[in-house]
């Protein structure tokens, strides 16, 4: 378990370094995800310990957004002033994005589903 947590952190660190060195407009952890993915492709399977460690992190992923979300308290004033434009924009845009992406994907991805 510890070995695989180390691997995950090494991938993240390498991702952060790559982003910094090459000034890629993507966050370090996303590049880290790509690196771990490449490693998995090279190994050709998911080691059991990595599976457990990754599941442990992914199962509690919702929790990890709580500290940043609590930052809402820093912006009560601004949010109050722009409550209508912000809330309408967030609700409409998020739902529109879901509908457009899902519909297009379902339509374009019809062949090759294997279903």
């Amino acid at each position: 378990m510890l070995a695989y947590l180390t691997l995950i952190l090494v991938c993240q660190l390498a991702g952060e370094l790559a982003v910094g060195a090459l000034s890629i407009p993507v966050p370090g952890p996303v590049v880290g995800m790509l690196l771990l993915f490449i490693i998995l492709m090279l190994i050709g399977k998911v080691p059991k310990g990595l599976d457990q460690t990754a599941n442990g992190l992914l199962n509690s992923m919702s929790l990890l957004f709580v500290p940043a979300g609590t930052g809402v308290m820093l912006h009560f004033k601004l949010l109050g002033e722009a409550l209508i434009p912000l809330s309408l924009a967030l609700i409409f845009s998020t739902l529109a994005t879901i509908v457009v992406t899902a519909r297009l994907m379902q339509w374009l991805g019809k062949e090759g589903t294997g279903e």
């Binding site: 952190l9 991938c11 993240q12 407009p25 993507v26 966050p27 952890p29 996303v30 880290g32 995800m33 690196l35 771990l36 993915f37 490693i39 492709m41 460690t53 990754a54 599941n55 992190l57 992914l58 992923m61 919702s62 929790l63 990890l64 957004f65 709580v66 500290p67 940043a68 979300g69 609590t70 930052g71 809402v72 308290m73 912006h75 601004l78 949010l79 209508i84 434009p85 912000l86 309408l88 924009a89 409409f92 845009s93 998020t94 739902l95 529109a96 994005t97 879901i98 509908v99 457009v100 992406t101 899902a102 297009l104 994907m105 379902q106 374009l108 991805g109 090759g112 589903t113 294997g114």
Partner: protein, 243 residues
């Protein structure tokens, strides 16, 4: 009474207290979510945030003090993002088969997210810093914050809008997808990840592994697509809306 006060003063100054409160608030919110049969409307992130904000306001604690403890949880977002490589690897054969469909849907979704958000807020009178903070709201927080700063927005406001977007997607996304009759797990996951990044992905992972993998992939790709597309679209929007 005095010793209780002293203990409180001591505890509230250590990271342990706010770290523990973050976990406790989440457990309470998650318990309600599970009890209600995982009703998306009782989103545990929203519940935990509301409990914590109420507690911090009641105890007159500032966010900086809270974050000293909560940062340990926040930090794990990075490793969790890296860990998304595992479901992606498992689903790779499915992803590869529909690569073109994925890219086309993702770019259309990314474009929709930016344009509808900015246009709606502009229509209802949002100011320029508000629009700039809002534009990258569908992308994972670190990228969104960097983009917002570049456009002249407020990165810390962007972080809040990003989380809110995630919560809205997780709360209403499954219902909307049922309503429009999208049953394909790949399309459902891709839509959740494109519109509502990691929070949508966390929700998708709970339901179906294919959806989770597509959602994680969409989250990563949308970070890249938005970083590349948004500066161009922003210039055009500013011109069109006459801001």
């Amino acid at each position: 009474m005095n010793s209780l006060q002293d203990t409180w003063v001591y505890l509230s100054a250590t990271p342990l207290f706010h770290l523990t409160m973050t976990l406790v608030a989440f457990q309470v919110a998650n318990f309600a979510f599970e009890k209600a049969g995982r009703n998306p409307l009782l989103n545990p992130v929203l519940g935990a945030v509301l409990l914590l904000v109420a507690m911090l306001l009641l105890t007159d604690t500032d966010y900086g003090t809270y974050f000293e403890g909560a940062q340990f949880v926040h930090f794990l977002l990075g490793p969790a993002t890296v860990a998304l490589a595992v479901p992606l690897y498992r689903q790779w054969h499915t992803v590869r088969r529909s690569a073109v469909a994925i890219l086309a849907s993702l770019i259309a979704g990314s474009f929709t997210a930016i344009v509808t958000a900015v246009a709606t807020a502009w229509f209802f009178g949002g100011s320029l810093p508000i629009l700039a903070s809002l534009a990258p709201k569908s992308v994972t927080a670190p990228v969104a914050m960097a983009i917002a700063e570049e456009l002249g927005g407020l990165p810390s406001l962007t972080a809040v809008l990003v989380i809110t977007t995630g919560i809205i997607g997780a709360m209403f996304g499954p219902g909307i997808l049922n309503l429009i009759g999208v049953k394909d797990w790949r399309a459902r996951g891709l839509a959740m990840g494109t519109a509502s990044h990691g929070i949508g992905t966390a929700r998708a992972l709970q339901v179906n592994e294919t959806a989770g993998a597509f959602s994680g992939l969409a989250m990563g790709l949308n970070a890249l697509a938005t970083a590349l597309l948004l500066p161009v679209i922003w210039g055009i929007l500013i011109g069109l809306l006459g801001i």
